[in-house]
Symmetry: C2
Subunit: 223 residues, 2 copies
DNA sequence: AAATATTTTTAGACAAGCCTAAATTATGTA
DNA sequence: TACATAATTTAGGCTTGTCTAAAAATATTT
């Protein structure tokens, strides 16, 4: 009503979802993949795809999936940038837990004001990573690649730093809270169990046993 | 899509507008008054009024205007609280000008998360007034009355403190910026011109001449 | 009191975003 | 290659929130 944004919440959410999926795979993004990620129906996705295609935000060939145009990718990355900056604000300044910030940032990412994003960035002292270890795209649209590896693939006795998560669900993050696994702490692989892929790690003064499932959802940075 | 708020942006904006208008006048709020304030059409207002009436957020009698119910008033005040807290954030923390905060707060006020409001309030150290001098409603829904008077009604030679504005438009606020009139500074009425209602004031080391129009849009607190 | 002007409501339309059910196209398997 | 299955699109419908134009009610003048 008051603000007429360039793009609607729904449009930005679709672009963000398509961007995320296109990073996982070089192929065109399928209708069903988008529907799954956004928890909506394939028919709704087809509707929106047509609108975004009309606006030249993506390339669409019937039955062949979609690919973002440069314009579409730019908007997607801007939205990711806003999302991650707001997550930093919620975590660093308002002292939310890393398991609580995502849902609120899903809303805040759609606030329209270019100067707001810049001022927020400055206020947060230009953070490079969000509370989940994901890189914050620059104002120029460049997203730094992180060279993290899965904790499940860490070599025996090697030391590393907890650097990110694959699963962003609050259930998983709360489980890590309980284990006192936080980003930035040092980890060393003590033992790998070949039978079930579970591992034993040393963090701080504790030894922890982690299932393969959990280890595959934690990212570490080699020292 | 992701968040299903109790009330939509439009509903909250209508409730806020009706609350504002009902504070100006004890009578029921008219359809046209709402349409003017929200810059929409009377027909749209009638539509929305029916929906809000169905939801028991206001009492509506055809052709007789509307009155908020306790439930409607509660939501309106909560929205005002969020609006003003966000304005404080933008002004105090992000260093926006007082002429820039309103538009962005119009968007931020609709973010749904009760704990976010509480944490923001705490982060801002429980401010009592927004950058325009308007009181911030408490968590309990109580809005403190300010006993400010119009600068145009200040008595001769009396000293007072700049405390608020009636006109919140950025044009007016920018004009005050140019005159270096900011909230909190002392003001003394030096002369009143009976002919056109204009006044001469002393602020800091300067004497300023203000039209009646301007003086009627500035609020001061007696010392 | 009647005529006129203003306010408010109704009627009908539209765009955005979603849905279900049915039709169509693509893909994988016997 | 033909059939079965899965993916995708189309058709038609719904809600929200907006609009214009016309009708109805209320308020103001004369
Ligand atoms: Mn979102
Ligand atoms: Mn994140
Ligand atoms: Mn608003
Ligand atoms: Mn304000």
């Amino acid at each position: 009503m008051y603000f007429c944004s360039m793009y609607t919440f729904a449009e930005e959410n679709y672009l963000k979802a398509i961007y995320k999926l296109s990073e996982l795979d070089t192929q065109a993004v399928s209708t069903n993949a988008i529907a799954d990620l956004l928890q909506t129906k394939a028919a709704s996705v087809t509707d929106m795809i047509k609108k975004l295609s009309d606006k030249r935000l993506l390339k669409y060939e019937k039955y062949k999936g979609v690919e973002l145009t440069d314009k579409g990718k730019k908007i997607a990355i801007e939205t990711v940038r806003k999302h991650r900056l707001w997550e930093c604000f919620l975590y660093d300044k308002l002292k939310f837990g890393w398991d609580e910030v995502h849902e609120i940032a899903e809303q805040l990412e759609h606030i329209q004001s270019e100067v707001l994003v810049d001022k927020l960035d400055e206020f947060l002292e230009f953070p490079t990573h969000d509370p989940h270890g994901d890189p914050i795209p620059g104002k120029n649209g460049i997203v730094k690649k992180t060279n993290f590896i899965l904790l499940s693939e860490l070599e025996l006795d090697k030391k590393a730093i907890m650097a990110g998560v694959v699963d962003h669900s609050s259930v998983f993050l709360q489980y890590l809270n309980k284990l006192e696994i936080t980003l930035g702490i040092q980890v060393q692989l003590v033992e790998r169990n070949e039978y079930d892929g579970s591992i034993e790690i040393q963090i701080q003064r504790k030894k922890l046993h982690l299932s393969k499932e959990v280890a595959k959802n934690i990212l570490v940075k080699l020292k």
